[in-house]
Symmetry: C2
């Protein structure tokens, strides 16, 4: 991995001057072309041996290009808002939109976790690497161009450089304790990073190792690779055109789908409902006041056919909670800013901090429901979404965010009855639109998509709860029960640990 970056590459001053001028103009041009095309963003990640010039490289790239369309973010210790959410949240926050370039410094490789410290848990490392691989794969699939540089120095070069920096009063402050430490453990560290780089060296986002002892060579190497990679991506067919058909999902050959077998009708009197609801709301309220609640967050996801009773169920949850603790996020068509980002971005921005509950009224599952059925997403896109979504929810779970998902199931006849009722009652007319009627015509396609979704995204940590919703009362109680159970189970686990 690092062999050809220890050959002593260098470029003389005159050549550098000539080449830099040309490169600069070309970079500026390609940057404007990127902006004009407005089809994909570029993420640049700078890793490397200490003092190899990551900061200088970021500054130089910004100097060469137009800083209005390029933004740099560095990641130190997480601040309050970051620490209360999953680790990747801070990266999603600063992801550049289409047409822009973002330098993320070390990005998801910046974590001190990656430094070798002699006693790392192999399983944990595997897990983290796996997560990075999935993230980069997903970004690439969404059209994000990810450029990863490793600025390399050999042991001898690092030693010389630290000595030189330390000997000059003006630069001595740049040499930190951890730099010295790196030098001492050079071989182990490099071995460790070699492993990391190899395992995250993806076809769509390969590592670009650059010898950094001669800054002329380093600068031109990085600059040209940025240029050529963007040029190449611009010359490729657009993401939309690249979408290939995925192999079709074959429904069961007898035509019976998961949701066809669900019992939808239950009897429940209004009085029983009221009594039980009160108990459950009290229980939920109590759980939200549990001291350990401040260490976790809850996300509830509501999906289901139109008029399945999502709104009513949501209101029974929120009525049990303090308004400062929860937020309801209705998901409709994405906004302009959201359309300029990978599709999960719009959900990442609403991830609650610890101590809060967020209700999603429709969700990221739109990708495999409405987007699939209406053809807004190509088969290859919604097919990979199952994995992307599972990975997303896995990250949430890891960060103590409980995900509770509900599919509210009603029969075709019941939907018709409710639609007609809505049209008849003056103040319910807001709730019924022409689109609802159009969607109704695609009932079978939705049932098929929903059945696939439930099967492919019900995980042990975030299972789908199928709620029989022909009887509203029954449905609301079931929702409350599952939510309370999930929350209680997690709080108990937390108590035991403490």
């Amino acid at each position: 991995m690092f062999e050809s970056a220890e050959l002593g590459h260098c470029i003389d001053k005159q050549t550098y001057r000539d080449e830099e001028g040309k490169l600069r103009e070309a970079l500026l041009n390609i940057q404007y072309a990127l902006k004009e095309r407005n089809e994909f963003p570029v993420v640049i990640i700078l890793g490397g041996v200490p003092t190899a010039g990551r900061g200088e490289m970021a500054n130089l790239l910004t100097e060469w290009m137009d800083p209005r369309y390029l933004r740099t973010d560095a990641f130190g210790a997480p601040n309050d808002e970051e620490a209360a959410r999953p680790p990747f949240w801070r990266f999603w926050r600063v992801l550049p939109p289409k047409g822009r370039i973002g330098i993320l410094f070390g990005g998801w490789y910046a974590d001190p976790f990656w430094g070798w410290d002699g006693e790392q848990d192999a399983a944990r490392i595997d897990r983290r690497i796996e997560r990075i691989v999935r993230l980069e794969k997903m970004l690439a699939d969404e059209g994000v161009l990810v450029l990863k540089f490793w600025l390399h120095l050999s042991r001898g070069q690092l030693k010389d450089r630290l000595k030189k920096l330390a000997s000059d009063k003006k630069t001595a402050w740049r040499v930190t304790e951890s730099d010295q430490q790196f030098l001492k453990q050079y071989d182990r560290q490099i071995e460790h990073y070699r492993d990391l780089l190899m395992r995250t060296n993806l076809a769509d986002a390969p590592w670009r190792v650059v010898e950094a002892s001669d800054s002329n060579y380093r600068n031109l190497s990085v600059g040209r690779q940025v240029l050529e990679t963007i040029e190449h991506q611009l010359a490729r067919p657009s993401v939309k055109q690249r979408r290939v058909d995925a192999p079709p999902l074959v429904s069961s050959i007898d035509g019976v789908r998961l949701l066809d077998r669900l019992k939808l009708d239950y009897e429940l009197s209004k009085d029983d409902y009221k009594k039980q609801l009160e108990v459950l709301q009290g229980r939920l309220n109590g759980l939200s006041l549990h001291p350990k609640f401040a260490e976790l967050s809850v996300i509830t996801v509501f999906e289901g056919m139109d008029a399945a009773g999502k709104g009513g169920s949501i209101r029974r949850i929120t009525a049990a909670l303090d308004a400062r603790v929860y937020r309801v996020v209705p998901i409709a068509a994405p906004s302009e800013e959201e359309r300029a980002q990978p599709y999960l971005w719009r959900f990442w921005r609403h991830i609650p901090p610890h101590g809060h509950l967020t209700v999603f009224d429709r969700s990221w599952y739109g990708r495999v429901l409405v987007e699939r059925v209406e053809g807004f997403a190509a088969p290859a896109e919604w097919m990979r979404a199952y994995n992307e979504i599972n990975d997303f929810e896995d990250q949430l779970d890891d960060a103590n965010v409980i995900v509770v998902k509900f599919w509210l199931a009603i029969s075709n006849q019941e939907q018709l009855r409710r639609f007609e009722e809505r049209q008849a009652v003056e103040w319910k007319r807001f709730k019924i639109t022409d689109e609802d009627w159009r969607n109704r015509e695609k009932w079978e396609a939705y049932i098929e998509a929903a059945s696939d979704m439930i099967e492919r995204t019900s995980t042990p940590t975030a299972p789908w709860h199928l709620i029989a919703a022909n009887n509203k009362y029954h449905a609301r109680l079931q929702v409350m029960r599952h939510l309370c159970d999930a929350l209680e189970a997690r709080l108990k686990r937390k108590e035991k640990k403490a």
Copy 2:
């Protein structure tokens, strides 16, 4: 102010039940109508005597209405990100977009500052009140409906309530030290708040004082006022239609405008430029490394005719700085999310935290330049913008954000020369569009608008620097000089204080 809220209002259980049902339905309807019309947001602020039920009221309003289109935020001690920015930033962050309702709890009145503590500086209070008045006035002008409630308890009622809460094990924790303190100083506190409420009792955002000892009365009073006020606002002509013409600004009768008198041509050789630039960039870099730099932020604003050299000047600034320290924000047409907010919102979201510099390439001054000239803003809107902008920058200054504003001035002939050059040179063609040519036809109108702007928004803390820019070299050095001077002066002031 509080007299009629100490009359012992109350409503019996049966009446309450009947009324609540009706109110609830009406609130839900008006909320949907608000969403459908999508013309203005509603901000609800809940103040009052301790234990009068602000939390209960927020919960109840959320229960009555559809929680998907209503969001509640409370404001405790500022977190990391909030503490590093002006005090109002946190409110701008959560302002509801058009069609939605936001409960901001105490909002800008929640600050403990407002509690009477026996030794307050009258001048500071005046200043804060003034700022709130301006904010609410601006929000009202932008169409935001601000509803402010004061939930009142008389001395005797508060005493009884605290006693009752304290005597029950389940509620005793709700009585805090500061509640007891409030009771002890009841008369002084109320006197103090009476003054605050009276001075912030605006025609567009009056205080609504509600007796809160009987919760039935309190709930219905608040609920009905929310309902009726939204109804009233929906029935009014829309903000657009309400815009009245402002009296015209009369330009000087001899037709000579501020910018006509500016000397635009300076001689400077490329060699001299390079030498001086290097010195200035070194100076700026040094200032950014000053230990006190971490306690302030810098905003530079670039305005000027097309092709005046904004981009080039900006790059000379950024080249002197570490890429992690600055951000360049180009301002073009507002996005969908931005259009759903008061016009200053899109700039508030880019306010840098301390230790950072943000360059705005065009800015909030678009309101009094392009929006005025093109008629996107009505006269009454851009006329009031001068004050709103001055107030915005004053807030920034107060929070240790230095604002350095540049108007890059070129002559009409020089612009023509540059436009033609851009069209001739292959890689500069990106920089010239049909719109640039169209804008050029309105040259005179822009000069007039810019002259007014400079005159009306040059304040001692944030003056406009007029930069003669026919010679690019001269302009860039002037920009660097003013920026360094402003930053140095502020750092010196900080040093002295320390």
